[in-house]
């Protein structure tokens, strides 16, 4: 019996890198799950941003809820040039699991759900939107401030097949 939940690709950085890209993503699945275990190489806080299919236009938006140890807040970004997939701070590790639903259909805009954990600072839940009906074939990640991902950061992409 064919596997339903399959690893598509993994990238473990051998040296610090400004961007991480998964390309030529097969359309053979229904959903994608993207797991990030990464750190940034500076002492500053930084957001992990994501774009699909190399689209750098203002075609993204997101709504989030954040808890920082004392308060819960919510915010959003509209007409953004990238989505929110993670949060790094002060050279510490973060992890995030992103659910990318129905990524290969060509009917709907693409919604994704991110749960982001940075135990030193905060945790996030985020819903992202890419206003495009194209199948997702490429995912690019980068730090919002232009910094690097640490060496040893891992990025793994899985595919899930529906019946």
């Amino acid at each position: 019996m064919a596997s339903t939940y399959e690893k598509i690709a993994t990238n473990t950085l051998g040296s610090a890198a400004a961007t991480v890209t998964f390309s030529t993503i097969s359309g053979a699945y229904t959903d994608l799950v993207f797991i990030i275990a990464a750190g940034n190489s500076t002492t500053a806080s930084d957001q992990i941003r994501a774009q699909f299919n190399s689209d750098t236009g203002s075609n993204y938006s997101f709504t989030q809820i954040v808890g920082n140890g004392s308060t819960a807040t919510s915010g959003r970004s509209s007409n953004s040039t990238a989505m929110r997939f993670g949060f790094c701070s002060n050279n510490t590790e973060t992890n995030a699991i992103i659910q990318i639903q129905n990524y290969s259909n060509t009917t709907t805009y693409k919604s994704s759900l991110a749960r982001i954990n940075n135990p030193n600072v905060n945790l996030y839940a985020v819903v992202n939107l890419w206003r495009n009906t194209s199948a997702i074939t490429n995912i690019s990640l980068f730090m919002e401030s232009g910094g690097n991902f640490n060496s040893g950061s891992t990025f793994t992409l899985y595919g899930i097949k529906a019946a």
Binding site: V66, T73, S74
Partner: protein, 176 residues
């Protein structure tokens, strides 16, 4: 012993057709797994920004005396919480006022669904974004009035129908 590569299996998928549908039921769920996961994209035909996606088990659709639920949500400007002991298990999707093509997304996890000694507990992460409005919601819920094996799951809306292309995919996760 090598881990099985087939511990996560697709059970059934339903996609709403052009006429819309007030409910979607995933029935005849086999009891051969340990946990269930439902992954869906959802939009309503109701003329509103958003709507509630309700989850019922085994045809038990009365929330009072059967279900409890709590949720933590953010609407882009503030965080809030709601819930209680007469609350349906629920998440959120995009309403018909959202831009065409915008669907909410929800991932539901139903743990130990065949255990007849436990109330059945669900967690969900769901939300929609419509480039200027949106909701992100973390949910928990429980069927507390009985402890049946879950053999069917029904999804309903808080208003009108699920719109065309809404999709519900059910997966089984095996234990050891």
């Amino acid at each position: 012993m090598a881990a099985s590569t087939n511990s996560y299996e697709s059970i059934a998928t339903t996609t709403v057709g052009s006429g819309g549908s007030a409910t979607v039921t995933l029935s005849s769920i086999p009891a051969t797994y340990t946990h269930l996961q439902v992954r869906c994209i959802v939009r309503s035909t109701q003329a509103a920004a958003n709507f509630g996606v309700l989850m019922y088990f085994n045809g038990i659709t009365t929330q009072a005396s059967n279900y409890s639920a709590h949720a933590l949500r953010g609407n882009g400007s503030s965080a809030s919480a709601f819930g209680g002991t007469t609350e349906s298990i629920q998440s959120v999707g995009a309403g018909a006022n959202a831009t065409s093509g915008v669907f909410g997304a929800v991932v539901w996890d139903i743990l130990d669904y065949t255990n007849t000694n436990k109330n059945k507990v669900v967690r969900a992460l769901g939300g929609y974004d419509n480039n200027g409005d949106g909701i992100i919601q973390l949910s928990s819920g429980m069927l507390y009035s009985s402890q049946p094996v879950i053999s069917s799951i029904t999804f309903a809306t808080t208003g009108n129908d699920f719109a065309q292309y809404s999709q519900f995919a059910l997966y089984g996760i095996k234990g050891s």
